[in-house]
Symmetry: D2
Subunit: 346 residues, 4 copies
């Protein structure tokens, strides 16, 4: 089959690879209908993650079930399904609850990152632990929406849930990339009165406004947040960038007894943390990996009913054959690109 394969720093190639084979009776084979490129794939593209050359990449994909192992009970051949971008053992107490990122057997893996778990920017994928990793796409959810449910929408929602938002709150979202925008939509589900979205890029701020946020250019953020909160600070801050500097800004901008929720991926072994400021502020600080399937019971009905419309974040739709160019564009942030959808049939 055709697939996007990692060959080293900034070297992603579309090429032919052997068809995937399900590893055991609990696995399923999924023919990919659409996949997406995630911001975290760029870390990999830039050589910042220890991925073996030759690995098929991608952890956001949906498709049709072609084959199921004999122990798979909840998924049937012919189902159109969404697949969690991250999986665990599928059997421990935490995995059974969907908290696959906290697998008690420490078998958490991400598709297209874990060395034995080839990814979904390909024509087909073998999915282990199919009963826990897969859900049928219900009526009312489009294929594009389903792709977003495999990782990035749960991530944005996780950021909002972790922020302890209460009705009437003023929330700051740092970063108007796709994750930040989905955090904005999610924060609305918790009753935020005002959601300030901070970014440097005017186009992204315009989109944040369109989606219901209050756009704040990064250069004006200190002053604007102070003014709009009467110098008290924001009730909650969601950090969706992942740099040390924006994490520090988040702590700076939150009010006493508020919450900072980090969903930007920061993989530093040591970030300078302003402990005395945190102490004076009575800070709650959260950072974590999204437990995708745990969040589906909340998110799938919200998308199916039309209350959440996340698909606005797709700006580019390309064929899988254009995958190398898609990575280049996305990395260069050219052409107003926010998020790319890939079609393996093209």
């Amino acid at each position: 089959m055709k697939a996007l394969v990692y060959h080293g720093k900034e070297d992603m190639r579309v090429e032919s690879v052997p068809d995937p084979t399900p590893r055991d009776a609990r696995s399923a084979l999924v023919k990919v209908e659409r996949a997406a490129i995630c911001g975290s794939d760029l870390h990999l593209y830039h050589g910042d993650m220890p991925v073996p050359p030759g690995l098929v990449v991608g952890h956001e994909f949906v498709g049709e079930v072609m084959e199921t192992g004999s122990d798979v009970a909840n998924v049937r051949v012919g189902d159109h399904v969404l697949v969690s971008g991250v999986i665990g053992c599928g059997q421990c107490k935490r995995c059974v609850r969907g908290e696959v990122v906290r697998c008690e057997r420490k078998q958490t893996q991400v598709f297209g990152v874990g060395p034995d778990l080839p990814g979904g920017q390909a024509e087909a994928v073998a999915v282990p632990g199919a009963d826990h990793a897969i859900r049928p796409i219900p009526e009312g959810v489009s294929v594009e929406q389903a792709v977003l449910l495999t990782d990035i929408l749960p991530t944005g929602y996780f950021g909002a849930r972790n922020a302890d938002i209460e009705p009437g709150d003023t929330v700051v979202v740092i970063g108007a990339g796709p994750v930040g925008l989905l955090a904005l939509l999610s924060a609305q589900l918790f009753g935020a009165a005002r959601i300030l979205v901070v970014d440097r890029v005017p186009e992204r701020l315009a989109l944040a406004k369109e989606l219901g946020g209050i756009p704040v250019p990064a250069a004006e953020a200190d002053a604007t947040i102070a003014e709009l909160t009467n110098e008290q600070g924001a009730d909650r801050v969601i950090e969706a960038v992942g740099s040390d500097a924006t994490i520090l800004k988040a702590i700076d901008w939150v009010r006493p007894a508020g919450t900072v929720s980090v969903i930007g991926v920061n993989t530093s072994p040591s970030v300078p943390f302003p402990m005395v400021l945190a102490l004076m502020k009575d800070l709650t600080f959260r950072i974590g990996l999204v437990p995708v399937p745990e969040l589906w019971p909340a998110l799938i009905p919200l998308v199916a009913s039309g209350r959440l419309q996340p698909e606005r974040v797709f700006t580019h739709r390309m064929g899988l054959s254009e995958g190398a160019e898609a990575y280049r564009l996305f990395s260069a942030r050219e052409d107003g690109i926010l998020k790319v959808l890939l079609d393996p049939s093209r």
Copy 2:
């Protein structure tokens, strides 16, 4: 001054009464700019509440502060303000937190109902405990919205908050009168995926739909709820009618381990309660009076930011001089009437 005065069952008259006088140094005098008639005023109109003839009625009003006692610190002459429809002693631990309906000194009273607390369907009102009962109307909140913040919007919101709604839930609201419709808007703040609104009146169902609800004619409710929830029952039910029959329906329609939240006013000393059904369902059942000022820190910013637009429930705007006719119309449910706003200057 002119005021609407209760003279007995279905006998409400606009007449001249003495001007109100503040009772002590903690009181303020408010010139009424707008008042509204509440569904609960109809109980009074129908003679179902023990109100002394001669009392000025009405507990939903906003206006301008004309005079403040020497101990009033947070309110100034000239402020345009909203006044809580219900007040307590204003000083005990609960009143200080806005929970005036749970006053530890048992001094909870409703304007225009409590015999020493003349109401706001009048040109002016004396407000005791002004610091706790009054808030300035902030920028972004219209006079009509402010009237709704004095009682009925907090009531709808209280119903939604008491329902333990989680994101993705299916919620049923029984009754598409003004309180039910405001409960519908409020339930959206807690992330409900689907909100079914049950009523008998097609016009009210149409308005529920316009406000984002799924309209369900009462005659089809049993079947529709069963179908849409795969026979599991609704996650949460908000009862906004107050009859014994609809409270029983609420218990019937909720799923196991769900919550029934009653905001319809039911004053029966004894309602037959299906205890064995509640036992089998693991039921949480809540009913209570709204602690108006406790809810303002959530609701005022939501209205000010435009996230909550409750004013749609007003269908009639009349002069105070037409007050008697307004009560008649509202009681007869003529002319598509939902909620009446009264202007004391007319």
Copy 3:
């Protein structure tokens, strides 16, 4: 094997019955080491429950696994185990979380009550859905403690958890029978400052005091509760009797915005409910069946570490061969009886 068999009102007999046979590959066969008689077994004994004559009774038992079906993964032959007194399908979303009383497939059944689910007051029991219904007895938990973990301790704990207790609260427990006493111990886990236990029987009140409660004779309860709470009412009331009268007392004794949690079994289709009082009090009222396995992750460590010592409720230890007499004694409340442990080997 020998077993206690129901033959009609007040006619319980120890007799020989066919050995149980596991129903399918997900079942296990358990040799009973100890069983207990539950207060709810008395409803059955008195003919108040529709149980078919000939059924082996009892839903509180522990034992050794003798045989497991081919699909049983978490339980092994030779394990000493505790078995949930209530089971569901074992596979739906709720059962997987231990909420077997809310089984989505509506297959909730109690051992020794459900007509196809013979009980545990016997030498052996066939247990369906073994992976979900069974847990090994861990180090630190005695056989007698394990018996209490199968139903009655989770019930007392459920009552306390449902009561929304906060540290510093004053809690009333109505009924100092075994369930009430275990609710008393459980309420201590949530930080209650004072736990008043109301009963008529001096011996039970003495035991309540020994376990850390404040004993209140029923005849003095109105006055005592009023006095100790400065006429405000108790923060929380746990009802552990199940009569209409005590449920009404619970509502009477709770403070505004407090919680009433009912674990006494009341199976009336219609109890007169003081709706206007509930309305004035802003009442939260909960009643339900205990989801036994859901509570094990909290309760098993607490018993194993010695923080919870529930075994004090056993007052009588008898042989299974004395089972008929045990029921008679328990029903007559003779001999200071609180709870009976049965040994099938005698």
Copy 4:
């Protein structure tokens, strides 16, 4: 009057100073009956805090009200009272709720630290905002217990409350000094099954065991925690030391999706924070200053009823005249010293 006065690093003297005078009509004058030295006073003693020489120190004290301003309503001359070690403006929304450390007017101050707020290791103290800072000592609370309620017991309790403890949890407390021991007692109120207390000092570990903890010598902590939690990590960790190293250990020892609650005082502007570890663990991290009066409604009833017995932490009772020696002993950790009570009459 006599008082302990700060004169520079490790130079604390008992000397005569002018009697305190209440600053306004909202203040009260309190004759000190007992005061205590807090661990945080040592920071000051060691010259680590910017305190003006000449300041009377101490923020833990109780006494008798000698004089009240004309606007003081809740406190009367002759009352024996406890005084919050930290105060705010006393009038903003947060102060009214007891959250004085989050004063909206940014007027939070600690007695004996803030330059205009002389402390309580003295014969008398002027207390601003008396209505909010002072509570009568109720029946059942001893003078020694009352002293602990002014700061250190609320701090330990705050650490436990911030740790999100659920019944059945395994909790680690780092540090068996007075704050750690009170965190241990407090963690029991939230239903912890096992509380491991880590320290280097055998006497402190022995006391932790006496109070219900599981003592763990610091050198064995890594191995013991791993073993007792099956390599999963502790559900919650309360850090009661305040060093960078112990904060890092706390993050190391907590399980995925667990909580680290820091009450040790760490005033570093920049602590190296293991962000990638926090990310992988889905960490909740809390650190803050204790809002003393907010916690009294929970803590005062618990001490009054005997459920909390914090007084065990006092190891030394001395006269105020021995104050300089008390600081020296405490700083040197000589003589098994844990916490010193001072009597101004000696």
